[in-house]
């Protein structure tokens, strides 16, 4: 029997979607979801589950979907994942659950991410809520940072009966889910809905509370039985090449914070402005770079270039993102490395100098190593340049906690159980690992919740 192909995901057409910030995938219908779920062969040894950092019960959930038990599927998925509608949309599934689905060996793996997003969306539309029974244990935990790591740790601890207070520096919770990933990948009603669950189960989310600044770290340590640090890695990296002072040059974080957190794409109805020219260059080719490039396209830029010193086949971005970017007309200028940014007399960027690269040998991570080609420098006119070279751990908190052990690059040091050098203070997520993924941060949060529970008991 020929293996069935994956049920295709309907999407907004590229020429339409570049005019709005609405979701690109339109989501499965009931029938489509059932059909896709029915492709799962219910492996005796479901390898898919070993690929999921929070060990979702993928096989069983898919079985329920195939049998139209969406409610059961939803409640089961919530057991291991507080935010399945979000992870279903942003996990790099090809490297995780779907990457190890046995069907992937010969054909298309099951579309696990989209199925889980479907189930969670269905539950929202049908007003099905997960109401875990909570037995208060009278102990208190403070969580610093309301990104994926903090959210997961908060939910797990709350379910164990802890009183959980989550402190978030920005005016909205969510971390990167709120300020980094654009609405066309992660619609904001989905974010709001899944975050509302935290408050429903009694997690106290305090926004505009900056630990170390308007909440004392020492006070938290005194007042709470344990503290979990999930402050993320949100500090932008620049290239340190000439011209980064110019107007028209943004870090990807600034560009995305303006667009996502501050809704600059709705300026002037929303107050925060953004200036995005006709010709935009984005340095880098990770998820962040592609998010910025695709946002620039939607802000009306005529030409958007990804400037990357390797090839898109060797890029860290998710396949789906690259595929969508190509469809949307993003131009990949591969094998080029920026050398300087040049501006006019008023301090506005006018162009960038690029050097061509070729591969030679391997770098420390085992990837082909790009080296500059002599005398290959050329100019490219640009109005806007977005530097998307990754981020480093947030300094604001660390500056205020000198007693905490960190690595030179800013990552917080912990032992195997995620405890830092300060007793009762645990850490996780990007603050520990540098940039990683939503689900890896969540996995961290989950493991830390167990460690914190053991510590307090």
């Amino acid at each position: 029997m020929a293996m069935k192909k994956r049920v295709p995901m309907r999407e907004q057409a590229p020429e339409e979607r570049i005019k709005n910030f609405d979701s690109v995938p339109l989501g499965y219908s009931k029938e489509e979801a059932i059909e896709e779920a029915a492709r799962c062969i219910q492996c005796k040894n479901p390898t898919c589950e070993s690929g999921c950092p929070v060990r979702m019960k993928i096989k069983e959930i898919i079985d329920k979907i195939a049998h139209e038990d969406f409610k059961g599927a939803f409640l089961l998925s919530k057991q291991d994942n507080a935010v399945p509608a979000m992870t279903g949309r942003v996990c790099p599934q090809e490297e995780q659950c779907e990457g190890v689905c046995v069907l992937g060996k010969k054909g298309d793996p099951i579309n696990i991410g989209k199925l889980f997003a479907f189930v969670a969306d269905w539950a929202r539309e049908s007003n099905i809520v997960d109401q875990p029974e909570i037995k208060e244990n009278g102990k208190k935990v403070a969580i610093v940072g309301a990104g994926p790591a903090g959210i997961t740790c908060a939910v797990d601890l709350r379910k164990m009966g802890y009183q959980v207070t989550m402190f978030e520096a920005l005016h909205l919770a969510g971390g990167v889910l709120q300020y980094g990933i654009p609405a066309f990948r992660l619609p904001r009603d989905v974010v709001d809905y899944e975050l509302a669950f935290l408050e429903e189960i009694g997690v106290d989310i305090q926004v505009n509370r900056i630990v170390g600044q308007n909440v004392g770290f020492d006070e938290l340590r005194e007042e709470y039985d344990a503290v979990y640090l999930a402050t993320g890695a949100g500090a932008p990296k620049f290239m340190k090449i000439p011209g980064e002072k110019l107007k028209g040059v943004y870090s990807a974080n600034e560009f995305l914070i303006r667009v996502n957190l501050m809704k600059a794409y709705q300026f002037p109805d929303w107050d925060t402005p953004i200036i995005c020219g006709d010709k935009v260059g984005v340095i880098g080719c990770g998820n962040v770079a592609l998010d910025a490039a695709r946002a620039a396209k939607r802000l009306g830029s005529k030409e958007v270039y990804i400037l990357y010193r390797r090839t898109k086949a060797t890029a860290p971005a998710r396949n789906e993102e690259i595929h969508h970017a190509v469809e949307e007309g993003i131009i990949f200028q591969e094998m080029t490395c920026p050398s300087k940014m040049v501006g006019d007399k008023d301090g506005w960027l006018t162009h960038i100098n690029l050097i061509k690269t070729r591969f030679q040998g391997l770098d420390r991570s085992g990837r082909p190593k790009p080296v500059n080609i002599d005398d290959s420098e050329f100019e490219m006119e640009l109005d806007t340049l977005i530097v998307a070279l990754g981020t480093t751990p947030n300094r604001l908190f660390l500056n205020n906690a000198p007693e905490l052990d960190t690595f030179d690059w800013g990552g917080i040091k912990t032992g195997d159980n995620f405890e830092t050098n300060l007793p009762g203070v645990f850490a996780g997520g990007d603050a520990l690992n540098g940039g990683s993924t939503v689900i890896a941060a969540m996995g961290n949060g989950r493991d830390a919740a167990v460690a914190i529970d053991e510590y307090i008991k």
Partner: protein, 280 residues
């Protein structure tokens, strides 16, 4: 948290003050810190200096400039802001300096002038001179809102000489530097004069801390919009500053970058005025 306005008064034709309830900011404020306001949920995050703290209230001096500052100007006592966040920033060392001078020529600088002089005055060994300059006598703040009560020596200057000493604070400073006996200068306010001041004090080998105002978005060190270059090294005004050693600041880029959104700001103000006029 209700950030209610409890007092609102004009300082001059362009500037006004508000007292607003902000217990967290009030509790931890140290001069050299600033705060961020969000007036309405779809508003911008606007950085503001803090003039003083009283119980759970802070006093802000605000210039009617663009959309947000004008929108807030239409509000009254009893109205509440969406958020007041802070304190933010890293203050310069507050300690014994000897003869200290604080100079200011704009709202934000005047607020810092007051706060900083008051704090530095707590060290008995400090002799504090506060210089406030305004364009004309008509712009001078009312009694009770000047820094004369928080310093040992107060110099009021107007550029046209219509009240106090004639000239900008730069003129006053030049004379004081000539006369010697200045150990440490602080200054806030307009950015271009701060560059001139930095060059001037360097000539006399007198250290200076200046407030390098830059466009901020998050003000928590995550966007890099407020980057300034100190001795060639990139720093963030929101978490490392906003006060920096004036001799080390790359002033041309700071001045240039502050104007990045001018066209958009004009557009926002245009839309706001349009709405105010009933869309006519």
């Amino acid at each position: 948290m209700k950030h209610v306005i409890t007092r609102k008064e004009d300082l001059n034709a362009a500037d006004y003050l508000i007292d607003v309830v902000a217990p967290e900011v009030a509790k931890r404020f140290v001069p050299g810190n600033f705060c961020v306001l969000i007036t309405v949920p779809n508003g911008e995050r606007i950085p503001m200096s803090i003039q003083k703290v009283e119980d759970d209230k802070i006093t802000l001096y605000i210039k009617r400039l663009g959309k947000t500052s004008r929108e807030l100007d239409n509000w009254n006592v009893g109205d509440a802001l969406h958020a007041v966040i802070g304190p933010l920033g890293t203050p310069p060392p507050i300690k014994k300096y000897g003869n200290v001078v604080f100079l200011s020529d704009l709202v934000c600088g005047h607020a810092e002038n007051y706060a900083m002089c008051k704090e530095l005055g707590k060290y008995e060994m400090n002799h504090i001179t506060s210089v406030q300059s305004f364009p004309t006598a008509a712009d001078v703040y009312p009694d009770g809102e000047l820094c004369d009560t928080v310093c040992d020596k107060f110099i009021l200057a107007t550029e046209d000489g219509s009240r106090g000493v004639k000239g900008h604070y730069l003129d006053v400073m030049k004379e004081m530097l000539e006369a010697g006996e200045v150990d440490q200068v602080f200054a806030g306010g307009g950015i271009p004069p701060l560059e001139t001041l930095s060059i001037l004090t360097a000539k006399y080998n007198v250290p200076v801390y200046t407030t390098v105002r830059q466009i901020m978005v998050d003000a928590t060190g995550m966007c890099g919009s407020c980057r300034v270059f100190i001795d060639g090294e990139q720093k963030l005004a929101c978490i490392d500053g906003p006060m920096f050693d004036g001799h080390k600041v790359d002033w041309p880029s700071a001045i240039s970058r502050l104007g990045m959104f001018k066209a958009k700001e004009a557009e926002a103000l245009g839309c706001f005025n349009h709405k105010l006029n009933g869309g006519k």
